[in-house]
């Protein structure tokens, strides 16, 4: 009984949807009036139209007539109050305002006052509905964000996971890149860090004290990485995976092997090479190439240098040039390591007589030994081969008829036919 009724509703629903879609395709121009806002962030509605509906070309002043008044609120289903006030300067100073976009180019469905009722369960729900408007123009970034940790978290039921407007804000959207060069603007780095800090404040506090963060936030230094340089922008990868770990040295290497950046600070660009040449790095790089998702406990850059709390190498508390600090790092994996142990690691040095004499001289020794001694042996073998081949050749020509005689040597020696060979050493032992 109930099931037939359900089926009835179901077919009715399908019929409605089909009818609706048909209408949509016939009257493409009225598309903007459809209930676009109902879409959830994980759903993938059809591509929104780039051009706003001409019917909706209301002026901003018209909207601001109400929304420019502070103190206006709207009660959502759970009783939360949605602030309807939009300060005009927020939008005007934003990248969208600068470029002359109008309210209704995002808010396409409102129409003239009184608009269609806006329904949302709560404030978060309101944001989740409204931010879909970003896709009218920024579908690429939206798609990238679908691959990010934030989307994964959202799919796992965490509604607070960041969406476009959480970082960029809804109305005061900042210009981040230079429109001509497409380069980042000078303040973008700091802005990015502070934006992530809105949720990841504990990490931000640590980062701010680090060698990178203090340079960025304290000095506005443009050479140091901000959050998004390592984590990516929209498609932020999960940094706790084995894959991220194995590929992380390349991340650091992006800047730390770039002489244009490193020479300014007197830093070596050989850090990756020397890491790869030493025991930990060879293995990490090997796995990265062959099995990028392999779990390994071999240390990558950040296991020793820290992640968000990276300090100068001579920092008394964390710096790895301080013996106790590096020993403590070694002991994380080698608990029984003693004070001598850290020297087993060449500290990114290329072996030199001052810093690592043993390695340097052993290397020198073999560089000498291999060509001289092994080369000498090779020459001797070559000469021996030459001479004995020649002998064999001559012998065969001379002795062919009598060749059998000495093949089956008898007990008794035959008469000597020796050719002045010195016999005197015989039996002198």
């Amino acid at each position: 009984m109930a099931s037939t009724r359900h089926r009835c509703y179901f077919f009715l629903g399908i019929a409605c949807v089909i009818l609706f879609l048909a209408l949509l395709s016939v009257t493409a121009t009225v598309q903007a009036s459809s209930a676009r806002q109902d879409a959830t962030p994980t759903a993938t509605p059809s591509q929104p139209e780039g051009e706003p509906d001409p019917r909706l070309s209301l002026s901003d002043e018209y909207c601001l007539g109400c929304h420019g008044q502070p103190g206006q609120t709207y009660e959502l289903q759970n009783g939360e109050l949605l602030d309807l006030y939009v300060p005009a300067e927020d939008h005007n100073n934003s990248v969208h305002g600068e470029m002359g976009y109008a309210c209704v180019q995002c808010h396409r469905t409102v129409g003239e006052y009184p608009h269609e009722a806006f329904t949302a369960v709560d404030l978060r729900d309101a944001s989740l509905r409204l931010y879909q408007a970003c896709r009218f123009c920024h579908q690429t970034q939206y798609d990238q964000a679908q691959d990010s940790v934030h989307s994964t978290a959202f799919a796992n039921g965490i509604r607070e996971a960041a969406i476009c407007t959480d970082c960029h804000s809804a109305h005061a959207v900042r210009r981040l890149n230079d429109p001509n060069t497409k380069e980042r603007l000078p303040d973008t780095g700091i802005w990015a860090a502070q934006t992530c800090a809105k949720c990841h404040s504990a990490i931000y506090e640590v980062y701010r004290e680090s060698v990178h963060g203090s340079a960025l936030i304290g000095e506005g230094n443009q050479d140091v990485p901000t959050c998004i340089d390592c984590h990516g922008v929209h498609n932020i990868e999960d940094p706790t995976t084995a894959q991220f770990r194995l590929s992380s040295p390349q991340l650091c290497a992006k800047c730390h092997t770039d002489p244009r950046v490193m020479t300014k600070y007197g830093l070596s660009t050989e850090v990756l090479n020397t890491y790869v040449a030493d025991f930990h790095g060879t293995t990490v790089v090997l796995f990265e190439k062959e099995t990028p998702d392999a779990e390994t406990n071999k240390p990558v850059c950040y296991d020793c240098h820290g992640i968000h709390n990276i300090k100068h190498v001579d920092d008394p508390e964390k710096g790895l040039q301080v013996r106790e600090n590096i020993l403590a790092r070694c002991q994380v994996c080698h608990p029984d390591a003693t004070a001598n142990f850290p020297d087993a690691w060449l500290s990114h040095y290329i072996p030199s007589p001052e810093k690592t004499p043993a390695v340097y001289y052993i290397n020198l020794f073999y560089q000498f030994l291999i060509p001289t001694v092994l080369g000498g042996f090779a020459i001797l073998v070559g000469l021996d081969f030459g001479r004995s081949t020649l002998n064999r050749f001559r012998e065969r020509r001379q002795k062919r008829p009598a060749s059998e005689t000495h093949e089956t040597a008898e007990q008794q020696p035959a008469p000597a036919e020796d050719n002045s060979t010195p016999n005197n050493e015989a039996g002198n032992e």
Binding site: N363, Y366, T408, D418, N419
Partner: protein
């Protein structure tokens, strides 16, 4: 000089008698076999680790499990080789304490002059090949080059195997030094065996004495004339050409 028991006679079916001379004891032959097996296995399992950046090696060591496996195999044969080295040394020390250690393998001035004469011979400066004792200078070079080579491998191998224990009483710089020595000596020893040893035991003449235990009369006369004369009291040059011409 009495005919020692190391002089055996074997009849062959042509009724002619080919004399063979005892050369290596069973123990020595086993030692050599163990060395061949273990060094070969160590070389084959060490090489991919050394050339980790090469594609062929990366295919072999593609996962942590495989790397671990190959290291485990390396360690097992390392223990085998170490036991062999320990046996060899203790046997030598034991014989020494009994004053029965043969001096035949130790180099002396005669070897220098043999080597010099050999060089002159090879350069066609003389027609006479030097006449050798039980071990010629080439064989002594083989023995001592690999004696020290394997010594370096074993010592450096244990240092990189147990870095924490080692650095509890030695400076840390010894670890990368041992690794470099291990890694390079492996190649040196391999090249040496390939060009020097294999040439002398296989290409110059097929010498299987380390596997069979005996050497035939012809090789004895030609390559170990003095030893031949010492054992038989006969003139090694008789009947044969001595190989020098």
């Amino acid at each position: 000089m009495s005919i020692p028991e190391s002089l055996k006679s074997v009849e062959n079916d042509q009724a002619a008698v080919l004399r063979v001379f005892h050369r290596f004891s069973l123990g020595q032959r086993w030692e050599h076999t163990i060395i061949i097996i273990s060094t070969l296995a160590l070389f084959l399992t060490g090489l991919p680790q050394k050339y980790r950046t090469a594609t062929w090696s990366q295919h072999l060591l593609s996962t942590p499990e495989r790397l671990n496996f190959i290291q485990q195999v390396h360690h097992i044969f390392a223990v085998l080789l170490t036991l062999e080295v320990a046996y060899h040394l203790f046997k030598g020390l034991y014989l020494l304490s009994r004053r029965r250690l043969s001096s035949a393998i130790f180099p002396d001035w005669q070897d220098i002059s043999d080597a010099w004469q050999m060089l002159r011979y090879l350069l066609f400066l003389t027609k006479e090949k030097p006449r050798f004792r039980k071990y010629n200078f080439e064989q002594k070079i083989t023995y001592w080059f690999l004696f020290f080579g394997i010594g370096i491998m074993v010592i450096s191998g244990f240092i990189i195997w147990f870095p924490i224990a080692v650095t509890s009483f030695l400076p840390g710089g010894i670890i990368p030094a041992a690794k470099l020595a291990h890694s390079t000596e492996a190649i040196v020893a391999a090249i040496f065996v390939l060009i020097w040893h294999i040439y002398h035991v296989h290409l110059e003449r097929l010498n299987l004495s380390i596997f069979t235990g005996w050497l035939n009369e012809r090789d004895m006369r030609e390559y170990h004339a003095l030893e031949y004369e010492r054992l038989t009291g006969e003139n090694a040059e008789s009947q044969s050409t001595g190989g020098s011409q």
